[in-house]
Symmetry: C2
Subunit: 206 residues, 2 copies
């Protein structure tokens, strides 16, 4: 039974964090949301920090699987990138950007997981997509895929940086979507460019 | 006479800094390069730091004028961006990237000028170019020019960041050129895209 309960706690906490960020959600609220006593929660997690770290690990694992899944069901690199864009948009639409800011500022352990994941998994898989894109004729062959993959991944952090894009002035998700779309246009050959345009015109007509 | 000598000292120091970076160049070498005594130099500049700050200010002033000049002699925004790219390439070809790393690390005052210039001048003029580009039909009208201008300017710093692009692994200028070219492709409409491609094919045939 314990693993079921452990997972339920994560799901309940996640629901609240997605809505309101991490900092403002109390253990009392998490317990109330689950219809569980705080005592039960503390049997599984030492404190909120531990819940946050567990949640980040869980989400990163899922993300990795989803990236693999997206790659498998996409017929080419353009479709893969468009599907990744849709996937991000879905995530953004249900998560309050304050979550990222809270994590960056108050949950260094969780943030550390995120950074390692970026360094070990995301940069490599991004470079792999770009290399395949060049082979398929959708990505310009004169880009340095190592530089571009690294740039793309660090750009995400830049978009969340409060000194560069102050949170009271910019919507973090809109900034991230602008970056993502610009990145894809920027690496495309003309053949790739046509495909994004088609995809975007379908979106606009829906 | 003094202003002439003051300028000569800057030019002589600049020549050495461009070749070898700032940190490794001594006041003795600057004096020797100018055929001047160190005593004379110290009549105008307290120390190397002061020379560096004066040089940065001078270069930023020149840069501002050159940007205005490029805008005036370009018939449209695409030409303007291509000319700015050529201008950067010229600068890169004569300057050792170690110069930027030295400045960032050891000359905080000079680095501060650079940052302020970026915040006050470069972001605004970049946004202006993008806005005009949309009017002219070369830049996609669905980009957020405020976000993109800011992203572009901060991207320059990202490219020089030793944690992201270690200097022993990446050539800083090549990273910057990759960013610049990717940025232009990323903001283009199809009409703009054709123009860069034409420009690049001319380059390749020369």
């Amino acid at each position: 039974m314990s693993n079921v309960q452990k997972d339920r706690i994560l799901e309940g906490a996640e629901e609240l964090f997605f809505k309101a960020g991490i900092r403002s959600v109390t253990m009392d609220e998490i317990a109330r949301n689950l219809g569980m006593s705080k005592k039960t929660i503390y049997q599984f997690y030492r404190d909120k920090d531990e819940i946050v770290s567990a949640l980040v690990q869980k989400n990163l694992e899922q993300d990795k699987c989803q990236m693999i899944d997206i790659a498998q069901r996409s017929t080419n690199v353009m479709e893969e990138m468009i599907n990744m864009m849709k996937h991000s948009e879905e995530f953004f639409s249900k998560v309050n950007p304050i979550l990222i800011h809270d994590m960056q500022k108050y949950y260094p352990e969780a943030w550390q997981y995120f950074q390692q994941f970026k360094a070990n998994v995301v940069i490599d898989s991004m470079q792999d997509i770009l290399d395949r894109g060049i082979e398929q004729g959708y990505v310009r062959s004169d880009i340095d895929t190592k530089v571009m993959a690294r740039m793309r991944v660090w750009q995400i952090e830049l978009g969340f940086d409060n000194n560069v894009f102050p949170h009271n002035e910019f919507n973090s998700w809109q900034v991230q979507l602008q970056f993502l779309e610009h990145f894809i246009y920027g690496i495309c050959t003309e053949k790739g460019y046509q495909i994004i345009n088609e995809y975007k015109s379908i979106l606009e007509h829906n």
